[in-house]
Amino acid sequence: MTEEENSSQDTGQQEEEAPKFLRGSALSIFHSDRHEDFMALLFAMAVALGVYVTIK
């Protein structure tokens, strides 16, 4: 699946260098994979609703 590389890569990298971003992680603007999953779900629902309403 699209993967939680951020959490794990962060775990490895943060021991050696300071994080570049104070929010989110190295590979995501969201603070957790679960948060990103829900945002993807929200975005997908919005697209689906838009398509449902506008396309015959």
């Binding site: 939680e4 890569q9 570049k20 999953d37 975005f43 997908a44």
Partner: protein, 520 residues
């Protein structure tokens, strides 16, 4: 920390998008479009160019001249620059670079059967987009103003996977589901067991073997992350596993389509193979789209296999927990709650895919029995009925079929010069996928089945969204593959991962070649 940079880049990119849209709209690019033979993208150039260009210009002006203070608005609006940067690269590749390479490749003539070099090597907008991303991050580095937004690429991929659910219907998933569950179950459990066994023989730490087995067996990085706390894996072990998986996946992403074309695999065969053999969903999508850049059938099959694989995650995590406890016997190991880890780490967007699939199966987006976004309607125009010579081709080859139901379906189609029922259409589709008949007869079958399939407007729109989201996500993914991360895959994990990954890929290919064409 203020994330927004006072930089003209976003404004300039917006102007470029709008200019491209204007030129495509007014015909100013006709010469270029004629040379590149990319007329099919003109609609995208105009629609997306104006839409994204407009957004980029407005927010770009705010980036340049606005007063930026630390906060949520600054944080999220600063991502627009990176997102537009990825989109611009992805769309320049899709609209211009990929067609240019296709023109050059066609100029060289066919190199493998009727296929051209760019088709054999899979050099389409998907692969070229990822390559462009890799080159940008490793040669030029990601510009500072784009860094925050580049982190949106995975959101695009996840959204694309969720929307992919709209393209499935219950009947289609049920027929593929049995096959995918059987195959994936066999190969996931086999790969996990093999890594654990080799890991013990090579004396790597149990925690290292366990995370690597989860990564190589189930679902790439998410499985690694889910299994890591269960087996008390160290950060360096997680990093090594991820490096191995990504490096393996990058190799597969380029190699699988080449092998697939050499063996002339059908879309279902290739989708099943990619979904079983490649570990990372983005790379599965990359390989599937590289194999079939102008359609989505391969991607759909690959994603079904891919998502079936994720469903094994709780089982594998449980297995690894038990295995680790048994082998480690470390009294100091921190106790973890396996159920809690599964609950916390299971990717929710997979549930989103299932939700969209459920909605699609109810007939909200297309008639409930739709197949690949199309539905059956045999009120066919005279021009789309089979011609006499096509009927003759079909009738002559019908005798080759062994199954009586298939023979009857072919005979009915030939007699009426069109497909008469959904059942017949399903049988004909099976014959086509199995490649039992000659290419000429298959062409006739394809024409007949195509004529009775009407495209649902909503599904067509979903396809466009999915293509956009995957182009965006995969180009952004390329921008996150650094040579340093790839080097992390060195040593034992790479050797073990390579052995297990290759064994799984080859065994899956053999199984698919032997059984899949007969099963579907």
């Amino acid at each position: 920390m203020v994330y927004t940079k006072k930089h003209p880049a976003l404004l300039i990119m917006g102007v470029i998008f709008v200019a491209m849209a204007f030129m495509a709209d007014t015909g100013a690019m006709e010469g270029l479009i004629g040379f590149l033979k990319n007329k099919k993208y003109v609609g995208e150039m105009v629609g997306m160019g104006y839409a994204f260009g407009g957004i980029a210009v407005i927010i770009g002006l705010w980036h340049m001249f606005g007063d930026h203070k630390e906060g949520t608005a600054d944080y999220y609006l600063s991502t627009v620059a990176g997102a537009i940067f990825i989109l611009l690269v992805a769309m320049l590749v899709r609209w211009h670079l990929a067609p240019f390479i296709a023109v050059i490749s066609k100029g060289l003539g066919p190199v493998m059967g009727a296929k051209y070099l760019h088709q054999v090597l899979g050099l389409n907008y998907v692969v070229l987009g990822i390559l462009a991303g890799i080159i940008i991050v490793n040669v030029f580095k990601i510009p500072e103003w784009a860094e925050n937004g580049v982190r949106l690429s995975r959101l695009g991929l996840k959204t694309g996977v969720i929307l992919l659910g709209t393209l499935y219907s219950l009947g289609e998933l049920a027929s593929l589901g049995k096959l995918s569950a059987l195959m994936v179950g066999f190969f996931v459990l086999g790969a996990v067991g093999m890594v654990l066994w080799i890991g013990r023989r090579r004396n790597i730490p149990n925690s290292m073997a366990a995370v690597l087995s989860a990564g190589m067996g189930v679902c790439g990085v998410s499985a690694t992350v889910a299994a890591a706390p269960v087996v008390n894996a160290k950060a360096v072990e997680i990093a090594y596993t991820i490096g191995t998986i990504l490096l393996w996946g990058v190799g597969c992403m380029f190699l699988f389509p080449v092998v697939g074309h050499m063996l002339d695999l059908g879309y279902i065969q290739f989708g099943a193979w990619a979904g079983t053999g490649i570990l990372n969903s983005a790379q599965v999508a990359g390989a599937a789209l590289a194999y079939q850049p102008d359609g989505i059938e391969t991607l759909k099959v690959a994603e079904i296999f891919n998502i079936t694989r994720v469903l094994f995650l709780p089982i594998i995590v449980l297995w690894l927990a038990l295995w680790y406890v048994k082998h480690e016997q470390d009294e100091n190991a921190v106790k973890v709650n396996v159920g809690k880890v599964i609950f916390e780490k299971f990717p929710v967007f997979v549930l989103g895919f299932i939700l969209m699939f459920a909605l699609s199966s109810t007939g909200v987006f297309a008639p409930a029995q739709h197949y690949k976004g199309k539905y059956f309607d045999n009120d066919v125009k005279a021009s789309k009925m089979l011609k006499d010579e096509e009927v003759a081709t079909l009738s002559a080859e019908g005798g080759k079929l062994q199954r009586a139901d298939r023979k009857e379906a072919v005979a009915r189609t030939a007699e009426n010069k069109k497909v008469m029922s959904i059942a017949d259409e399903t049988l004909l589709r099976g014959i086509y996928n199995a490649k039992i008949l000659s290419k000429d007869a298959n062409k006739v079958i394809k024409k007949a089945t195509k004529a009775v399939r009407k495209t649902a407007g909503k599904i067509k729109k979903f396809r466009q969204w999915i293509t956009l989201l995957f182009a965006f996500g995969l180009t952004g993914l390329g921008m996150q593959i650094t040579f340093a991360a790839m080097k992390q895959a060195g040593g034992q994990p790479l050797v073990i991962g390579g052995i297990v990954g290759t064994t799984k890929a080859v065994a899956a290919l053999i199984v698919i070649l032997m059984f899949v064409r007969e099963t579907i």
